[in-house]
Symmetry: D2
């Protein structure tokens, strides 16, 4: 006969296993962050769903509008990014659509979409210090500028390979102002821009603007590049589709040397 | 001296190179499908942007609402899918967030998210034949059922590993009805369900419902799994984030045999 | 009290779980296909290890030599393949080395490295029919040629985007002859080449040669592209390394239009 | 009429484009690191090809043997690694073989295969300082141990989730000794092991041993994880193949909670 204790020992899992607070799966029912998916479908917008999944609660009306603008702003940058080129190369080579999209996402390395995470980290660290040590935005701005100058590093979120002035950045900062979403992180990034523009003619790019606003919306820097990917995905899909339906398979997109 | 002809020959590109109708990139300007991105940001919703990128034009109000419901319906299915498990395994192993997300997407193989493309193909082919040969929905339904029965194949978009009745499918079909988006593809899928439910107790799943509605919205089957990925991405990101912030790094999620 | 039966039910695993015949992992011991890894390291060559892992036994001396030549033959094709270009694009974007390599592998779509699997399938199916129905190689050759002609499809393993005559194919077939590894699959591919060369001037490529020889070595077509990837990996790594150490990060590898 | 100067400006490439010193591709000819591929196939072993591609020259006999042992030692670790589990999950979901392999590779994050690069970096930095500042191995060992202790960080290349003593590490160090390949990096790693084993009972793992020996062979730390991937690939392929041919498609490998 087996005692209860022995039994409990035998049944004790040897592994952590999967567990999650995101969605509870039961037969014929899916509960996401406390809401039945049946109730969410048709009731909440896509940005609200993004917010709910990541933050565990639905956003306010203005936060929802702001997040929608952010996601739209990441949509596409033509065929210039290595991510789009990778996705199209894979499409041309005959890989399935999901694989081409994954390939595009894998090209978001530290030199490409990495800036948004570094920028969020920089701004969030700055505002944290400002709050904890009762410093002014101007003091923090100078500490940041010195830090990067001393290390001869570019400040993330500023400058663009193709644009002197990134048209998306200005528009996003305007919307943040109009919706009352501009808080300390936005103020800090604007102060940094003032100096960089005066001294070197460099302006904020779409990553810089969005990293400030996402921080003001309370998102942790860890989800920065993920948020960018959500916004860019429809663009990647459109390019993969265009390559498959509009170009010769396995075309020589670039030839090399004497061949 | 170089003649114009020689010159033209010399300048003629040896490769096709990149070209796109999606976004025109010019210094300080981004024109997507004819619209300045500055004008789109803050004006269009995310589903409208998806529609614009993929179809080249903005959707009607009802199409926009329908697409929003579809994207929301794909959001998450807890830790049960191999895609979510792959993404979390990579997160636990210390891969960057974009790589974990890409890994999740790569697990959408033909047995996993592949159903949505197969289902769209089946319904679009069916409706095409119906139109061209002046057949009834019932005739097409029977041809489809026979085709799959003869080959001993499961009909894509029906049945679910975890649900007898997928709660998302019913809700989506209701919304499509309410918005007046139900057309031939939805009728066809409902007729297939009648038979499968009577004979085997099998109901449509979220992929079956969405494949019918996306087809009624005029989307080609090729973008089916891409649309699913857009909708599922926020869920994947939430899981990756939960793994990174809530679990031990490189934990033994499942142990194996005697170890 | 709990009866034995109840208990058995409770303990019955709800999942299949992991299980494998490849390597048995025990504390301080690793047994691969029956051999202690300690004994294999330093004793077997890399191709022997490949053979052992995939076939469950060590190869003969000639099979080992043949497999070594095959793996070496896949090594590199400069910067022309989309796989190499994808890997280098990701390296330039600052992705980690393992991600760049994975990205290269993901570009081995059905138009790129897919040929080797299709070719192995074709030859293995052919030889199977030949054996089962007591047909001649010539009859099978004609059936294959007709099959592809009727469908207006290219025969996999023949022709090359860059070479009229692939120098690797000829060398591989010679080695197979010298080592006595040429069996029915090699004979069949040579017969196909005779016709294609006479009629259209098309010759076998590296994939065609290797698919015949791998089939003669008894490998199933399913591992065809995997074998190619093993051979190509050092080349992909060399390119990723060259991009990281020899080129500017995030360079504009190709510019686009007027930008 | 167009002047020569204008013309030169027009013809000046706007991009760097592809260029490589690895393989020169010409019609019907492939020259890798100065050798015709026709001559390499059948003449050099796979490890020699790896060495040639990465270092630009063929290895000595002992270096070849050492590299072969290293590649073999990475072969497989059953179903315990997240990489193998990811690859099998994707195979079960119906993704193509190349995608499953890529997925496995993407799980080699900083907590998984990352150790080999960190360990090579640590040892190479240590030996560099030793040489430049005329220090002893013991002094360097202590500096390293203090550095990691002060930061409360684990020393890369030591300890294993499943083995108290990694059987591969001991064997590899023996072979390196026998072949005369043990140089400063191996001495340094052995000295570190002495202290760690005496103080905490921790021994070197396969990554620690290989990172020392690869460093002694003159490989830069950047190619560490790439080398591991070359060695592990046949194992990943064997697992993917086993999953596809031996298990039910889309099986519930692990179930979750009450479902």
């Amino acid at each position: 006969m087996i005692t209860e204790e022995t039994l409990r020992g035998m049944l004790k899992p040897k592994n952590t296993g999967w567990r999650t607070n995101i969605t509870k799966v039961e037969p014929n029912q899916l509960i996401t962050r406390g809401y039945s998916q049946e109730d969410l479908i048709g009731s909440v917008s896509f940005p609200e769903m993004v917010y709910l999944l990541l933050k565990g609660e639905l956003p306010s009306k203005t936060h929802k509008k702001m997040l929608e603008a952010i996601l739209v702003s990441f949509c596409d940058h033509g065929t210039t990014p290595p991510s789009t080129q990778s996705a199209r190369l894979m499409a041309s080579a005959g890989s399935p659509v999901n694989v081409c999209i994954a390939g595009g996402i894998m090209a978001f390395g530290k030199n490409h979409a990495g800036a948004i995470e570094s920028s969020m980290k920089m701004l969030q660290k700055g505002v944290e210090i400002q709050r904890n040590y009762n410093k002014s935005i101007i003091e923090i701005r100078d500490e940041i500028l010195n830090y990067f100058n001393d290390r001869n590093m570019k400040i993330p979120g500023f400058g663009h390979r193709y644009h002197k002035e990134d048209p998306r950045a200005r528009k996003l900062m305007e919307i943040a102002d109009d919706l009352g979403c501009s808080m300390e992180h936005s103020k800090l990034v604007m102060e940094i821009q003032k100096i960089l523009y005066n001294e070197k003619g460099i302006k904020m790019n779409v990553d810089g603007a969005n990293s400030a606003i996402l921080s003001d919306l309370g998102f942790n820097w860890r989800i920065g590049s993920g948020m960018f990917i959500i916004g860019r995905l429809p663009g990647l899909l459109a390019h993969v589709n265009e390559e498959i339906t509009g170009e010769e398979p396995f075309r020589k997109i670039f030839d090399v040397g004497n061949i």
